[in-house]
């Protein structure tokens, strides 16, 4: 098992994390090897290649496209800091996103996390994976998570779920009076009129964020 290329589970698919330091040739060989080894895991699944800031030549990208299709990966995308590479990828019909979230640990915690605190104005809580917060998110505070966010409290600040592109992520709160919420690449603003407070769930439907009352949603 090499360190150059690591395969990790993620919500809705699989992440292939490629070490920044190695040469592309080495990385490519490892990717081929991993795709073969893990064919069963990757079959029919969406794969996200995390390339960091690395730039690829068009031929390299096409070669990657080829082996990926050969291994019957359903869908794949590139996560890259390089705008050039994103443009190149899109011109070849490959979807590409900027790397959304940089934290010290890149491994996501499959169990999610429960955090018990109030977030005050100016504080930011970042998390890889799903997050449950027992407390309030005050105005001016932010939560940024790659997974879903459940707030057992009041949200008056901003919540960003699915931060690395996961559109399946949801946001729930006992009082979702957030100034802005965001799931993957979709934003929503709180309505001007806020009526009574009740628990709500926000998720992406189609191209928009829809906020449901918990009572009606769970049926």
């Amino acid at each position: 098992m090499t360190d150059r290329v690591a395969i990790k589970g993620a919500r809705g698919g699989v992440r292939v994390v490629i070490d920044d330091a190695c040469s592309w040739t080495d990385a490519f060989n490892d990717i081929q090897h991993q795709l073969t080894q893990n064919a069963a895991l990757l079959n029919g699944v969406k794969v996200s290649f995390e390339l960091g800031g690395r730039m690829l030549a068009e031929t390299d990208l096409q070669a990657l496209q080829t082996i990926v299709t050969q291994h019957q990966v359903a869908e794949f995308e590139l996560q890259t800091d390089s705008r050039e590479l994103r443009q190149l990828a899109r011109s070849l019909g490959v979807s590409a996103r900027p790397v959304g979230l940089r934290t010290e640990t890149r491994a996501s915690d499959p169990l999610g996390a429960i955090v018990m605190r109030n977030l005050r104005n100016g504080q930011v809580l970042k998390h890889h994976g799903d997050l449950t917060l027992l407390g309030d998110v005050n105005g001016g505070a932010e939560i940024i998570a790659t997974g879903s966010v459940v707030v057992f409290g009041r949200v008056r600040g901003t919540v960003y779920a699915g931060a690395s592109g996961n559109r399946e992520a949801i946001i729930c709160a006992i009082d979702l009076s957030a100034t802005q919420i965001r799931i993957a690449d979709v934003r929503a603003r709180a309505p001007e009129e806020q009526g009574d407070k009740f628990p709500e769930i926000a998720c992406i439907e189609g191209d928009r964020i829809v906020v449901h009352e918990w009572e009606t949603y769970r049926r």
């Binding site: 005050r120 104005n121 100016g122 309030d136 005050n138 001016g140």
Partner: protein
Amino acid sequence: MAKVITVTSGKGGVGKTTSTANLGTALAMLGKKVVVMDADIGLRNLDVVMGLENRIVYDLVDVIEGNCRLRQALIKDKHQPELFLLPAAQTKDKDAVSEEEMVELVEQLREEFEYVLIDSPAGIESGFKNAIAGADEVIIVTTPEVSAVRDADRIIGLCEAHEKGQPRLIVNRLRPKMVRSGEMMSVEDVLQILAVDLIGIIPEDEDVITATNKGEVLVGDKSSRTGKCYLDIARRITGEEVPIDPIEDNPSLLERISGMFRGGR
């Protein structure tokens, strides 16, 4: 062992200086030896509010730079013999002093006084950081309105990050009538957001303006409700348990009548 308390807020104009002056005076009235320090270098006000500005010879920057001894810079209050003021410098700015220098200065003051009250500047940058550097505890002043509360929340987070413990809160300039009509946040609304302990509530009071302009503090005036509120806070600072006056004045006759037509609240 002296207690050093910084009075801060984040937002400007909510009553830090007024509170520091009144609380310093109140503690002296309770028999404590107190120094109030103005940490708002460049925009000093504490001296004006206490009516002592024409007695300033040296200021805290002079003490730190060694231009004078600490004693020479301390100004005795006009009314309370055990209350002293250490004024800020007016012709310098906040970079004239570092956090370490502030801590050292506070250590010197601890030897002479039972209470050191530090009047913080508004904001969250170096002036604020200098003001809390030597503090044992922090008191936060806010008014019951959204931007002040928002700023107070930020400050509370910073105090927690600087390991100053949980600050205590003064809600200042409360107008009970506006709270009743729903136009102003109630104290409960403020506490729901800030989630800290309340140390006192002060009503909106025009007499504060008059007193400030005369260089007097209201806590000396026995007939002032505001003065009494400050005195109660001073008592709580010394550890006494004093129930908090919720400042709900009685609805006027007109309010009560229109309340009947509106179906009451």
